[in-house]
Amino acid sequence: MKNLNIMKFTKMIKIKTISVAMLSLIVLSVSCTDEFLEIGATGSLAEAQMSTQAGVDGVLIGAYSALNGVYGNRFEAPSHWVTGSVAGGEANKGTDPGDYSSINPVQRYEHDPTQGDLNNLWRGRYEGVSRANSVIALIAGSTVLQAADATRMKAEAQMLRGHFYFDLVKHFKNIPVFDENVAASDVALTKNTSDAAAWTLIESDLQAAYSALPETQSQLGRVNKWAAASLLAKAYLYQKKFTEANTLFTTIIANGKSPAGAKYALLDNFASIYDASQDNHAEAVFDVEAAMNTGSVQNANYFDDLNYPYNTGSNGPGNCCGFFQPSFQMGNKFRTKDGLPLLDGTHDLAANRVKTDYGVEAGDAFVEDAGELDPRIDFSIGRRGIPYLDWIEHPGKAWIRSQVYAGPYSPKKYIYYKAQEGTLTDASSWTRGYSTMNYTIIRYADVLLMAAEAKIESGDNAGALALINQVRTRAANSTYWVKNSDGSDAANYKISNYTAFASKSDATAALRMERTLELGGEGHRFFDLVRWGVAKSQLDAYLQNEVAQGLVTKFGGASFVAGKSELYPIPQIQMDIVNGGDEVIYVQNTGY
């Protein structure tokens, strides 16, 4: 009996032990787990930390950083070398057919909406818009900012936002537009009905920036009042608001100054515009800063890294990759007669073409063109026999990847000097072609020419003549012409001023030619041709000329499609993302 009790007791103990042990496991589980499961993010900041002066300024700097793109795609270049210059016929892709072949459709006006590079341009600029909106929203929500700082920072953000929208509207025209007040959830539902909303916001942003920004900035990378004014005037011009444009340009020419306080002026030496040691000069109205040693070549004109002569070795800059070769026609346009360009298109006639070494082996003899040329040809185009900055004389075919495919020329603007290698270039990535030269989104020569255009359209041919001649006069300063090593001029340069414009159409022809001679390769041409309504005729003529001069593989069969090719397609991926629901949000541009 006793035994039984003991057994019973042991059994009880057993069951108790087991129950206690098992229960305790479960009980343990409920306590103190929440804290254990709280693990915060590392290496990041919460939104609350960004509302201070330093925080807002940091986000503003982030918005500035979007000026040269965000995703490191070359189509995001502020210079629009692909979508502005290549598409504008000033240059072709260069190199060979397979290399970076997604540029091929751009140069042939065969855009594919699914093309990822265009999507990156779209994404990069909208990221800029988004960052600018963040700045403005943070300022509105912050209670700790000094009023003066808040005003300035908001104006800077508005200027940037206006610029990003401007870039978008000139590529895609029909874009969704929203400001910082649109709720995040509604942003993706904003339709792309037309360009009207974009222009309205661009004007109001730039007007606000023009009013609120200081004339000078202690940090020269920041935009100032006159940059905003210039961009606003340019926006007027794009909308054909010539009266407003004319008035504002006149004010800018009279009073404009750089963030450093220098009155706007043309530099004496055309080459100084493309010289990192001269950055933030008096001709720079709105530019994108570049620097070395920043930890990323995305701050050092990464978008131009391919745009150097090919296979130069240590004799030349970059060493890679032979992209962005100026077109035959671009060269021909520099032909002058009595110092003036051939405005009737005859520069492409066989007799007037600039002689090139197309088809001439590097080792074979070649005599350069002896005819009259605008001296700006040798600041703009690398061609055989002419000193290539302070490198060697351009050796012709030896520096061209596939001459038969892409022609004989090399790019020359925005190329760094031999003397600057390593001191004004960033050597930390795969090629040497990362320069610290600023890209100038608006330079004063552009302001003068845009002002001239506004004057022509306002009936003031004489006013336009003076401005155009001001630009030509600088180019005519023979002190700075490209020289051979013996000090003689590298070619037979001849440039003179226009004496008068007989008619509006003469003035217009001169102005349009002057823009490409002065600003060639700086990303403006395609958008100029489109807003002038002459893209089809000009670009078909360009294509025909290139084929006639030999670039058959590249351009054979290509043509500009009027009513379609003026605009880039809305990236298909964006259409797919926003149109997934019941409602159509984005409508594709005509023809795509």
């Binding site: 919460a46 042939r108 909208y126 960052r131 993706a188 963030p259 030896a398 001459q403 593989t553 629901g581």
Partner: protein, 1073 residues
């Protein structure tokens, strides 16, 4: 330290605690019911710790006293006792137990017998893991487990793509590995010699005890332990040595120098015809005439490219070389052609040695394993080294309390050599691809012994891959030092009740250096000499407490397990730095202080914590009806408080039908168990730990700006880097499994078949955000998509003997089917894309398709003439000899909308056949693997099969079958020309897609076991010597190098120069003492 000393002493004591005893000797043979000898039978004296094991011929010999009881036991046979009388010879016949069923299987947090299992569980024999030396055990699963898909490549140390029952998620589908109870993300540190058992838990019924982390399946490894007996310490030595052949003969054929020159002229003619112009023969090497001639010199510094012998003054170039050696080259044409694949590969040595000590006493047991593995890759300078020491021990502190530990220290060195470090990055442009992009006329070295490269004009921008491999990789170091293991206490105060508390984890450190040298002989030389180095440290831990209780009452028996677990997947820091242009490239000189432009970075992370409770109840009635239920609740720091916890239940049942009376008389059916299970498992691998937070970040590339206007340095800027979703929760995979295990024909045939489905819901998916919302902010993962997987897993094992038992055989066939389908993404979203390769985007992950399906234009042959071009729908770039795309939407215009789904890289069927034969002392085995129904997007054809892609570079023999007016639509590729557009090399189309099915003879091996009687004289028990040949033949229609192509889950099956699996030959020596 004291603890360590104690442990060491303990171990030493165990090793030497070998008792001796001396009586009469009894010997005999143990046979099976067919009269075949059974090797490896444990023979021990009951009530003592003495024992032995039968040799290969079933012979044993043991010292024993009269009336002692000998116990004969062996896995798969029923145990027999024999009371010793006066006899000196005792021959025993063992019955096959029905009762492979008593085989112990290690499952989640415990063990069960095969009889008890109700879920879908497979095991891999430990010896199978040893068959082919590989750097990563998982590769050995290929074809050995039904339901497990393994895609492996030949790169030493690479991680395979291993998927248990398909793909449940858009990423993070790796199975959960459990090593001695501790979860780990990868198992590359494990030495196969140390593994005792491997169990794959495939369905929820088996795996959901691991709850939130089980959706990708669970693979449980148990490392070796000694035995609790006083048998002498057993020493095993496993030694393998051999070599891998790069299989140069199997490499795709490249154009010879003359062919490439001729075909360059062909292309120029074709270009002219396409453009309607006169032919321009122009190439820097082959001259300006219709008949291409090969130059004598490809390049001479100071002279140029494409030179005849008479144009080159060798002495002058030599003089130039003396003054400027790094920038002077004299490259002679290799007119016979360089085999670049041969040049970048070599025959590579492999060796593996594993030494194991195992033993024990009644109170404890131990295992010590020392392993060393060394494998060189066939690609120059690829290598893997792994050295490990493992100590496992267990000791009874008191009769009711034992302490045990498993610990392994590992040194691992892996140099990837430019061919992708893992199958996950198989789509990298590798040095294998680079080899095919070099024109064959370029020699490996120039006349001065420098590397010859594309400084010679006309060959595009390739870089000499031999130089890259020899210069840039030879100096690289990458190694890790890690310790992994756990310690546990088992408390068992009363019978059938046990509490185990265990703390385990890993500590690891890694370091790497990376050298890259500028080389002016390339057409696009890298800008500078660069040097990088980095290191990191990681600590992860797991704390587990489990209580189990078993109870039988009458015909009922039940087993209850409850547990709680807390873990951190790993917190740590990384540090990296790089810089350029040190004054000297002397390695002894280079460090971060001697380079220019040093850039440093670091990272810290706090890991992800989990807190979990779980319980499992198993019940059976008369060992005939089984039911089992599991539930686990997990909480994780990965999710916000709103939905931090997930609960994962599973139920399963089994019926041993053969125990029913009505099946007792069926003589051919020995055992039939029908199983069914349902359950849910979770996954959270594919979501960022910061997913719940909205954050701002900074990036040197994307948010810094030189705001001061200077040319040096930039100011930090910030941007919205993440949009948080505090409501994200677990992905849940719901599985159902119905199957049966049958043993037939007197134990000679086992059949295991499982039919399963796995449906994942609440799949975490980053809905792509419109660019207008600011694409630099990472989109939050939201629980929105669904995916389904289904398949049938089959295993057949047939064993038996022929010729009256002299030849024994066992043949195992594993087969599984898999159907994977994305069933929903998000409202309004029907697909998301994959990577783009040189503007070719072949992949679309779309609803109704498998992961990573190929979505391309479909070709309808080529345009054979101008009439076809004009009759066809308008197609950008259309031209004679170019791809003709199907106008699938019938709008008479070829647009992106005409693309179709044209293939899937997910194999429909994978399987393996394993055959073992035994004749006297000889044993033979072979092992085949097959993968059927997967397609491969052969992106390497873009580089080498189309003239216009990197014109001038090396091209393949596809040129010879390219479109021409004779072969028309039967041509091997489009017309040979420069044009680059949608109709040539500008779009993904089905020309690149090939059947990736293959059958591979993975292993053939032959072994000889020496007679034990002879070995005794030299003091060893077993000696086996074998030879094997691995991967000796692959049968496939795939034209690329190797059809085993992996990648990440949403982006795989694209061959951009995959590291091939090539044959290897091994000698094996196994010694047991």
């Amino acid at each position: 330290m004291q603890k360590l000393m104690f442990k060491a002493t303990l171990l030493l004591l165990m090793i030497f605690s070998v008792l001796t005893y001396a009586q009469t000797t009894v010997s005999g043979t143990v046979l099976d019911s067919d009269g075949n000898p059974i090797p490896g039978v444990t023979v021990f004296i009951s009530g003592t710790s003495q024992g032995t094991i039968t040799d290969f011929d079933g012979n044993y010999s043991i010292d024993v006293e009269t009336n002692q009881i000998l116990v004969f036991s062996s896995l798969g046979f029923s145990t027999q006792n024999f009371t010793v009388g006066e006899e000196s010879s005792i021959n025993i016949s063992l019955e096959e137990s029905t009762e492979a069923l008593d085989e112990i299987i290690v499952t989640g947090y415990g063990t069960e017998t095969k009889r008890e299992t109700t879920g879908a569980i497979s095991t891999v024999k430990a010896k199978d893991l040893l068959a082919i030396p590989t750097g990563n055990i998982e590769q050995q699963f290929q074809g050995r487990i039904a339901g497990v898909t393994v895609i492996a490549n030949g790169n030493p140390g690479s991680t395979s793509q291993i998927r248990v029952r398909g793909f449940g998620s858009f990423g993070g589908n790796n199975p959960l590995y459990i090593v001695d109870g501790v979860p780990v993300d990868n198992i590359d540190f494990l030495s196969p010699n140390d593994i005792a058992s491997t169990t794959v838990l495939k369905d929820a019924a088996a795996a959901s005890i691991y709850g939130a982390r089980a959706a990708g399946g669970v693979i449980v490894f148990t490392t070796k332990q000694g035995e609790r007996s006083a048998k002498p310490t057993e020493v095993t030595i496993d030694f393998v040595t051999g070599f891998t052949d790069p299989n140069v003969g199997g490499a795709p054929t490249q154009l010879t120098p003359q062919q490439l020159a001729d075909w360059t002229a062909v292309a120029q003619r074709n270009n002219a015809a396409a453009n309607g112009t006169a032919v321009q023969y122009s190439h820097p090497q082959y001259g300006g005439t219709a008949v291409a001639t090969l130059p004598d010199y490809l390049y001479a510094s100071g002279v140029g490219s494409g030179l005849s012998a008479s144009q080159v003054n060798v002495a002058a170039v030599q003089a130039l070389y003396e003054s400027d050696p790094i920038n002077t080259f004299l490259i002679k044409a290799n007119k016979t052609g360089t085999n670049w694949y041969d040049a970048i590969t070599n025959t590579a040595a492999t060796s593996r040695i594993g030494i194991g000590f195992q033993g024990g006493s009644e109170k404890g047991r131990f295992y010590i394993g020392i392993g060393s593995y060394s494998q060189d890759g066939v690609i120059l300078n690829a290598k893997l080294r792994r050295h490990s020491v493992r100590m496992n021990s267990e000791y009874d502190i008191t009769p009711f309390l034992s302490f045990g530990e498993n610990i392994q220290a590992t040194y691992r060195e892996n140099r990837a050599s430019g061919a992708g470090n893992g199958i996950a990055s198989a789509d990298d442009e590798s040095q294998v691809l680079a080899a095919y992009r070099m024109a064959t006329i370029i020699p490996v070295y120039d006349e001065f012994g420098s590397y010859a490269s594309t400084k010679a004009a006309g060959f595009n921008n390739g870089r000499n891959p031999v130089r890259i491999l020899e210069q840039n990789y030879a100096d690289d170091k990458s190694y890790s030092l890690s310790a992994f293991g756990n310690m546990y206490l088992d408390f068992h105060p009363i019978e059938n009740f046990n509490i185990r508390t265990s703390i385990g984890g890993s500590v690891s450190n890694y370091y790497y250096t990376d050298y890259g040298y500028r080389y002016l002989g390339d057409s696009e030389p890298q800008n500078s000499d660069n040097f990088g180095e980095g290191s990191g440290t990681n600590i992860g831990w797991t704390f587990t407490n489990i209580a189990t209780y078993k109870r039988s009452f009458g015909s009922h028996s039940a087993k209850l397990l409850v547990g709680l677990e807390a873990l951190n997947t790993g917190a740590g820091r990384t540090l990296y730095a790089s810089g350029i242009n040190p004054f000297s490239t002397d390695k002894a000189y280079i460090n971060m202080n001697t380079v220019s432009n040093p850039v440093v970075g670091s990272n810290n992370y706090d890991g992800v914590t989990f807190y979990s409770n779980f319980a499992k109840l198993d019940y059976n009635f008369k060992e005939k009806y089984y039911v089992s239920g599991t539930i686990r609740k997990d909480g994780s720091s990965r999710f916000g408080t709103n939905s931090r916890y997930g609960t994962f239940p599973a139920f399963s049942a089994a019926w041993r039908a053969t125990d029913e009376a009505f099946l007792q008389g069926v003589s051919w059916l020995d055992e039939l168990k029908i199983r069914g299970g349902w359950g849910e498992m979770g996954n959270s691998n594919n979501v960022d730990p910061a997913n719940q937070f909205s954050l701002f970040g900074q990036s040197k590339s994307a948010s810094y700006y030189p705001i001061s206007g200077g040319n040096n340095g930039a100011t930090a800027g910030y941007y919205k880097s993440r949009i948080g979703n505090p409501n994200a929760k677990w992905e849940t995979s719901e599985t159902t499994n119905i199957g049966f295990d049958a043993t037939l024909l007197g134990g000679k045939l086992d059949v295991i078949i499982d039919v399963w489905t796995k449906k994942t819901k609440d799949l975490l998916y980053q809905i792509p955000l419109a660019a207008t919302t600011g694409n630099s902010a990472a989109a939050p993962s939201v629980n929105i998509a669904t995916m389904s997987n289904s398949g049938i897993d089959m295993q057949f094992i047939h064993r038996g003997t022929v010729r009256s038992g002299t030849i024994g055989y066992e043949i195992t066939v594993n087969a599984s089917t898999l159907k994977n389908e994305i069933t929903a993404l998000a409202p309004g979203i029907t697909y998301f894309g994959g990577s783009t390769y040189r503007n070719i985007s072949p992949i679309r992950n779309a609803v109704g398709q498998s992961l990573s399906a190929f979505y391309t234009y479909k070709t309808d042959g080529y345009f054979d003439n101008a009439a076809e071009v004009s009759a066809h729908a308008s197609q950008p770039g259309a031209g004679i000899g170019r791809f003709k795309y199907v106008d699938s939407d019938g709008d008479n215009s070829i647009t992106p909308a005409d693309r179709q789904f044209t293939g899937s890289p997910v194999p429909d069927f994978t399987g393996g056949v394993n055959l073992n034969l035994r004749y006297e002392n000889w044993s033979f085995s072979t092992y085949l693997y097959t993968s059927l129904g997967a397609e491969i997007f052969n992106q390497s054809k873009w580089y080498t099969g189309l003239f216009g892609s990197f014109e001038g570079a090396g091209k393949s023999a596809l040129a010879l079958t390219s479109w021409n007016p004779t072969t028309l639509d039967n041509s091997g590729g489009p017309i040979w020309e420069s044009a680059s557009n949608l109709s040539t090399n500008g779009a993904a189309n089905d020309w690149y897609i090939e059947d990736g099915s293959y059958l591979r003879i993975q292993n053939i091996s032959l072994g000889y076991d020496f007679d034990r009687s002879k070995l005794e004289r030299v003091g060893i028990k077993d000696l086996r010597i074998g030879v094997s040949a691995n991967n000796i033949a692959t049968f496939t229609k795939y034209t690329g190098q190797d059809p085993s192509i992996g990648g990440v889950d949403t982006n795989f099956g694209v061959d951009v120069g995959n590291y091939p699996v090539t044959p290897s030959y091994m000698l094996t020596i196994n010694i047991r003492k």
